[in-house]
Symmetry: C2
Subunit: 150 residues, 2 copies
């Protein structure tokens, strides 16, 4: 996972290629454990001592707006960032016995983040599936999918 073409990513998101952006994105890809701005800065400055803190913050904002990275939750520390994954799991409805795919990258990130940080003793995690039980509140018999409101 570590080295897809960083430049390609930048190009695909219509961002100008600058040494700072390349360096920052590389570091985020290398530091897989959801680094915060501080960790990114430290690592970055090993190879790139003159980069500015505000450039790093601005770049993180830019990457976030472009959808390259995403803020993820953290209990005690500062806001962290991670490369956006492409994954999904399932949503289960008990009333109608219906199962729907449930895409929620934020939730994935939060759970991953958590389980990366706090390992389960004597257990190697291979996959994680969240089963959310509840009731659909939309029209259920028809084909039509109305946006029903809260």
């Amino acid at each position: 996972m570590a080295n897809r073409s960083v430049i390609e990513i930048l190009i695909n998101h219509n961002l100008k290629i600058t040494p700072q952006r390349i360096a920052i994105l590389e570091v985020i890809l290398i530091l897989e454990n959801h680094p915060d701005a501080d960790r990114i800065t430290d690592y970055l400055r090993l190879s790139n001592p003159n980069i500015s803190l505000s450039t790093i913050y601005k770049t993180l904002v830019t990457f976030t707006k472009k959808g390259i990275i995403k803020k993820v939750a953290t209990a005690k520390e500062s806001i962290r960032y991670d490369v956006i994954p492409e994954r999904h799991h399932h949503l289960y409805c008990s009333e109608s016995d219906r199962i729907e795919d449930f895409y929620d990258e934020d939730l994935n990130n939060i759970i991953d983040e958590y389980l990366n940080k706090k390992k389960i003793p004597n257990f190697t995690v291979e996959d994680i599936k969240l089963q959310i039980t509840g009731k659909f509140t939309e029209a259920k018999a028809g084909k039509k999918q109305l946006k029903s409101k809260p």
Copy 2:
């Protein structure tokens, strides 16, 4: 869940009873959605306009140290607090077909927190179960069950 005796909680944790602590703890119990210090302050000042911000922060620190409340994760906002719950769900092992109870209040908090904040469209959540698939790395044939409980 809203009004167990706040004073009793304070006494049980060897804290002196002050109007500020009572008010703060009541507000945390009322605001179930993991309020942050800011939200606590706003709500608090409706009834208690003169309470100091630093008192609120100090009190939150005190409550956290005493185990009355706990910091929970948040994606974009500041640190939030919640009353510590007593709940669990299940851990599933696919290799041995073994299922174990999996206690993890932090994880509960994180998922609750998330789903409280971002509702699922047209769906009312009733229960949430996390199924973690993987392999046990402990001795596998034995009867022994390690408790991964705090």
